[in-house]
Point group: C3
Chain length 172, copies 3
């Protein structure tokens, strides 16, 4: 009888664990979402249409306003690019949360387009954009598995290292 109770307890604990929400996981990872800076031009950070949200392209801007700048294959190595993609992802999720209020409403990360500031002979854009993809799957699990493009750009605004945009499906 006691072992049954223990088993049920463990099962409940496991379910609780596997049912961890996106918001809980973000907190557990120690990630601080922030209020997105107001765009300095006639555009916005995210637009919802029906149950899809289309985000603007987001660079690796941190809450304090600093950015990760430089070109992959020259100024930055893959690890630094990976970190830039991770920071861009946090910025994207900050804008998404500002738009929908609660990241637990995310039904699916549909598409990620990762544009990497690259030299002509830098071919590891996928390893860079993994910094965004890995975080999305860590936070959202299977709902975070997205279609993706990762490509090289000759230049990006203010020489930022990456610019990433997303399409996200939201619970109705």
């Amino acid at each position: 009888m006691r072992s049954l109770i223990v088993s049920l307890f463990l099962l409940a604990a496991f379910n609780l664990c596997s049912a961890q929400t996106a918001e809980e996981r973000i907190k557990e990872l120690g990630i601080k979402l922030f209020t997105p800076a107001k765009p300095i031009a006639n555009y916005v950070k995210a637009v919802r249409t029906g149950n899809l949200v289309f985000t603007a392209g987001h660079g690796p801007g941190r809450a304090d306003g600093t950015n990760i700048k430089g070109r992959l294959g020259d100024d930055l190595n893959v690890e630094e690019g990976y970190e830039a993609a991770r920071v861009s992802c946090i910025s994207l999720l900050s804008s998404l949360k500002a738009e929908i209020g609660d990241l637990n409403k995310v039904k699916r990360i549909v598409k990620v387009t990762g544009m990497v500031n690259s030299t002509a002979d830098f071919y590891d854009q996928p390893k860079v954009i993994n910094g965004c993809s890995d975080l999305l799957v860590d936070i959202f699990g299977d709902k975070g598995k997205h279609a993706r493009a990762a490509v090289g750009m000759i230049s990006l605004p203010s020489n930022i290292a990456v610019e990433i945009e997303m399409i996200v499906e939201i619970e109705e």
Copy 2:
């Protein structure tokens, strides 16, 4: 009594002003939309699916068939790039009107992707693509405020200065 009449008049004038339609504003700006040239390949200028319209990438082609060509950071300066983005926007709106019949049906400009023909050290893509964004907000007001990406391309078809595409939500 007279001040009441004046107030009502001003209120009516204000409402009239704020209620100006997209088609009226286009006319007021002296912008001439045109019949889009037929694509010379197996694609079309715009496709509607549900209440979204996805446009093709549009360059700065004018009604007379001329184009604005050249690379930002080399052949063209920011002001010339801004003008190219504005011309591309007029071309996009021409194709959109051909698809949906009436631009007053636009519910929201959802997304703009602005691809700028750039040198490796040109970092002002946002200032260039403002030429499109500013016109959209001028014409559509808050409905024109879109999510946006602005990035640098090593080359564009026929060496055009910019190529811009849009996703637009239409009234059902």
Copy 3:
């Protein structure tokens, strides 16, 4: 009377011909779709949301795992680029079929974005991406006519020649 029968027969034959399905046309063209390789990162080849499928960016990877690599304007000419776009299209259709089960469910190819590994003075991205567009229209007829962007990239993953992504509307 005999001429009426002949006419009816020809009419029926014509209808049959024009009613050829996408799956039949793929078979007739001798195109072998294949099981897409599992992505080596935290992303997937296609995501369906509502009646839209967004694909990942696909390169010119063949069923045997080989790829068409090189830069247009340098390593590859337009004909080789066209072939690379055609091979990418077959890869895209393979992933699409894996996602939706039957390509006859395609209601419309909505959007194609063709990213071409290019030198700074290569301007024929449209002629390259025609390798994908032509095949889509050959297979799907009017349903295959899509909005399209064709642009030049400074570099692509593993130095592949093109990377193409699609948005596809599916019968509900």
